[in-house]
Amino acid sequence: MGTATTEQTDSQGHSTAKVEERNRAAVRLAGDSGDGMQLAGTQFTATSAVVGNDIATFPDYPAEIRAPMGTLAGVSGFQINFSSHEIHTPGDRVDCLVAMNPAALKANIGDLNDGGVLVVNTDEFTEANLNRAQYESNPLDGNDLDRFQLYKVPITQQTLEAVKETGLGQRDAGRCKNFYALGILFWLFERPLDTTLRWINNKFGRVPAVATANTLALHAGHNFGETAEMFTTRYRIKPAKLRPGTYRNVTGNQATALGLITAARLANKPLFYGSYPITPASEILHELTLHKAHDVRVFQAEDEIAAMCSVVGAAYAGNLSTTGTSGPGMALKQEAVGLAVMTELPCVIVNVQRGGPSTGLPTKTEQSDLWQVILGRNGECPLPVLAAQSPADCFWSAIEAARIAVKYMTPVILQTDGYLGNGSEPWRVPEPDELAPIPVTHPKDPETYQAYERDDFGARPWAIPGTPGLAHRIGGLEKADVTGNVCYTPGNHQRMVELRAEKVAGVIRDVPDQEIFGDESGELLVVSWGGTFGAVRTAIEDARDDGKPVSHIHIRWLHPMPANLGDILKRFKTVLVCELNLGQLQMLLRANYLVDAIGLNKVQGQPFRVFEIIEKIDEVLGGKN
């Protein structure tokens, strides 16, 4: 939305572009998977964060490292929504699209708003690339793109020209074209170059030719915007009014890693992270290896099973023990998670969900592991489950998971997803006094120690090897109540199964009451969980602005669920559960609360778009507003 327009001429009198002020803009960079779009997007994000916009990002990339060049399958995109007010999503549609080749144009043009800015790299619109993208004729020649502000820029040629002086070969020189495109975007949206220039120096400082080339390309793109007299308008998005504090941009996976380290520090424990690489969770592993000075013990295991087993071992030996994985890895871990339940050892399992079943859609998001984590183990095997709602919230969720794990002596599963893990947003760095210590006690007295005696929260004592006089054996066989010796008697098994269930149900004491956004009762209650928070909340805000009788609850604790949840559900005529699966939370709500909930279910590997939710709300309300 344009709020103000001014003519602008800079001091050198280069540009005559007008400046249009907007509340927000969504930009998508799209190209071949080798074109460096994720990198350019990340840099645009970092700069937008530093200038103080609220941001939400959505990287969308193929599972193949290099799908066949120029094809639709190989298109990699990075979308960022940046705003002068608080936003929750990367945006349904975009105001600006950079298409580095015909396939990128074809795959993304449908999401560009009419009148939006379209920058294309004309050098890649060759006969061969048009064929690979299955274009019958060059779309740049017809008038199909007339409804956009189309800018045809020979990005490849211009980049090669700009970096000539570095003496880099054609191939390496050409790889700088993402920085050229970024330079154009920085100009278009009035962003400073310094954050990216600093990054280039840090990253490529050891290879001066590459550092220089990328710097030159970035400047060249920026200068092109300034001098080409091609662009008629620049866009200004003012800083957002966020809560005061120090901010940085984080992805969900980064925030998860920082949360785990923080939790270990708050518990005064070494952090153990045993994990096997898996998309889209590997970034947690990568991030943690950078912080060994915090006594982070990263173990890259031989497989998912070993990773989880090592977590059980490290928990027994007294570390804050954690792992991260995604759907298929979660499935493999389940037997060992059961061992952690039986041995009642504290640990945190982060499941960065992706499209399933089986290998499914490794790089795409989904919420289809809810049943798996709540119901998916042999035997009666309950454990607490919570879900993060935004990239930055992964930090707080990781700490919360750890706090519950040690307090109740139980494995805790933290559900995030690919959308949260890879997406980013500004994160207000907590002040030290916002981080409460995580109290941990270890028994010391051999006279009173019993391995399976329980405290007020149903937790057994965490006696760690090396403690004099407390040598004891635990394992996967059923335990005798109190002593923890192996015991198969019928009554004991019933009792132990019930004690474990009661303990996990008792976590409800630490689950805050469910808050309602909107009216406390009424026509329609929309329910969501996990990474869909942003899209659903935005839809409800919009719907309520339009006077629609709809409220929203976003459930953080999936097991156990908040104490007042059943009561809330019964106060609404219709309960609509929005989730990226075929109705997993919906079924749990129906089963637990006998509520006739209906669902909005999307399984396309893509997050919800706000309009999809609004359409469903309208359908349910049937014009009642």
Binding site: P239, Y247, K292, R297, F299, Y316, V429, P432, A471, R473
Partner: protein, 338 residues
Amino acid sequence: MAADTPPTVTAKDFKTDQQVKWCPGCGDHSVLVQLQKVLAANGVDKDNTVFVSGIGCSSRFPYYMDTYGIHGIHGRAPAVATGVKCANPDLDVWVVTGDGDALSIGGNHFLHAVRRNVGLKIVLFNNRIYGLTKGQYSPTSDFGMRTKSSPQGSIDHPMHPISVAIGAEITFVARAVDTDVKHLQYVLDRAAKHEGTAFVEVYQNCAVYNDGAYKYATDRATKDDHIVYLEHGKPLIFGKNRDKGIRLEGELLEVVDLGRVSQDDLIIHDEKATDAAMAYRLARMHYPEYPVPLGVFLAIEKPAYDELMMDQIAAAREQSGPGDLQKLLNAGDTWQVE
């Protein structure tokens, strides 16, 4: 007792109050007793010791050792133990496993614990049968063996644990027989003192489902002709009358008669050999073609995984100081909102 002398530990101190439930005549009893004796002899602190096992008859072992212990899940003991050791490298961590547990369901974890050289002592009770599930062939059962799951004879070829361990870059590997208690103690003692992964294969008799599998190596009348003890720096000589030896003939090992071949031509055992080729050849000596080697095949020094992990943490701390949490959280590009 003087205040500065540690309390004396006896084998009895390692016994738990739990009834040992292995069958009478099972070789497991012997390993339990010998290991308790070895730990006591070494003055091991039982509160600083952890026994980790998987599933199977042998994996009940931790319940009978009054140390810390985890009876884990099938095949995964090396992975559980790796977690224990990384969380606290000061602990003595033992893994007790069987042929099915270590080599079938847990093959992957066994290989990787070995190649990483984690500071674990892995004792494999090899009885060449699945005992706890009542008598199916295992990955070390002989080809053609008739069992409950192979009534017409097994068509699986057996796996040889020591060959596998050497292939996975083991730094200490040895073999003993359950009934030869002195030698078993010697081997366990050597394993206990090794820094990285120590792997001991114990020929263990299952009295119920595979009785007599190692009769050739245990029968007093004939065993000396069927086994050869490996002793560092000494020639490979065996036989009741110590009249036979092993030499290298081309690429192959050959059993020779010392009446016709000089002792100087025999292989001199070198457990510290940096090239594992000879150890591998010895591991390929199977009954009845060859006498079966007992003793330490290899004992070489290489930094343990857990030690390297802690070194990296120490190096990171040296470089950047002990982690400052606020510095970590405020790292990267930050900005202020007033």
